[in-house]
């Protein structure tokens, strides 16, 4: 088994029996995982938190516990949107396989027979962590697809910032390529728009100047203006004569 590549992660152990808890914690640490533990269901839910991404990648859950038992913890986790996706591996004695079926129906990913065998523990955790990693990647991908869509909407409403796509553009896959192409094309569009706006501003100035010239010409070409100009010239002459 030592040659089988495996993934390490953050594991929450929920087990009321002290000896089993100590043993499982130690086995997990030996296998390179980071471990926290809870001795009952209430403490487990507290550790998982009430919102946001939980600080664990997988939960190892004993079923028979005082207070809130494993079934209740599992039901509450599956009912909580921030915990529903977290893989749960039920820890169960071989003679309790009926309980395991119930837990799988409630949303548990797998089960681990007690007493815990280190090789089986490693294999089950590896599978659960790989599934979690894949799911996290899919989730991140969908979020980043959403970022590209938001950028397209922002571009249409003149609210686009190219830096909003930096994280997606850093990807090495096709989505990253799409984001980089989108950024480049959006920058080109924005630059072209800016050039057009500048040309429009210059045209407006020319149009305004031309309009003013026409208005001046219209006024100066009227009979009234010509008559005023003649009278002004006469007045100037008479003033000069008197002087």
């Amino acid at each position: 088994m030592a040659d089988v590549p495996f993934t390490t992660g953050r594991v929450l152990v929920v087990e009321d029996a002290l000896v089993n808890r100590m043993l499982i914690e130690r086995l997990l640490r030996e296998q390179g995982h980071s471990v926290a533990s809870a001795a009952d269901g209430e403490s487990a839910l507290e550790r998982l938190g009430t919102e946001g991404e939980p600080p664990f990648d997988v939960v190892l859950l004993d079923l028979v516990m005082p207070g809130l038992d494993g079934y209740a913890v599992l039901e509450r986790m599956k009912a909580a949107p921030h915990l529903a996706h977290l893989p749960v591996i039920v820890i169960s004695a071989v003679e309790e396989l009926g309980s395991v079926v119930r837990c799988i129906e409630l949303g548990a990913l797998d089960y681990l027979p007690k007493p815990v065998d280190p090789s089986i523990l490693r294999a089950r955790l590896n599978a659960a962590l790989s599934a979690k990693r894949l799911r996290d990647l899919e989730r991140e991908y969908l979020i980043q697809v959403g970022t590209v869509i938001d950028a397209a909407v922002a571009l249409e409403s003149d609210g686009f910032r190219a830096s909003s796509l930096d994280a997606v553009a850093a990807r090495s896959d096709a989505l990253g390529q799409l984001a980089r192409t989108f950024q480049r094309m959006a920058r080109e569009v924005q630059a072209r728009e800016e050039r057009l706006r500048q040309e429009v501003r210059e045209l407006r100035i020319e149009i305004d100047a031309s309009h003013q010239e026409r208005q001046v010409a219209e006024i100066t070409e009227t009979d009234y203006f010509q008559s005023l100009r003649s009278r002004a010239a006469e007045l100037r002459r008479s003033v000069n004569d008197e002087a």
Binding site: D16, A17, L18, V19, L23, R26, E30, A93, P115, P118
Partner: protein, 120 residues
């Protein structure tokens, strides 16, 4: 009469936890301190005719004992657990003296094992 401890289980536990005698001693000490509380809970559950408490205490004793190779004690505890699951305590309570006798054997054997693994 079966041996109170399965040596192969203890060897596996020691090896899989890194061959650390200090941790092994801690684990045994935790078990030695923990079991009397479960036995007391089983006795109290029998006295109070509380099948749920009897079931739960027997369950914990069963799984803890199996982890450290006390397989006979684990098996006896499983019998009590299953009897209590049916909702009555009398049949399970009848097995308690045997369980307590087995516990004395396990306690002595584990104490002896602990002194051989190199941690004070």
């Amino acid at each position: 009469m079966n041996a109170p401890l399965d040596q192969a289980t203890l060897d596996d536990v020691l090896e899989s936890t890194g061959g650390d005698p200090e941790f092994m001693a801690e684990l045994i000490d935790a078990y030695l301190a923990d079991v009397p509380t479960h036995l007391a809970a089983m006795r109290r559950a029998a006295d109070e005719d509380d099948a749920t408490m009897l079931n739960r205490a027997a369950h914990t004793l069963k799984s803890s004992s199996a982890s450290l190779g006390a397989l006979t004690l684990s098996s006896m505890s499983r019998d009590v657990e299953e009897l209590a699951r049916r909702g009555t305590t009398s049949e399970g309570a009848a097995l308690l003296p045997e369980i307590e006798q087995e516990w004395f054997r396990v306690e002595a054997a584990l104490g002896a094992y602990r002194s051989t693994i190199g941690d004070g």
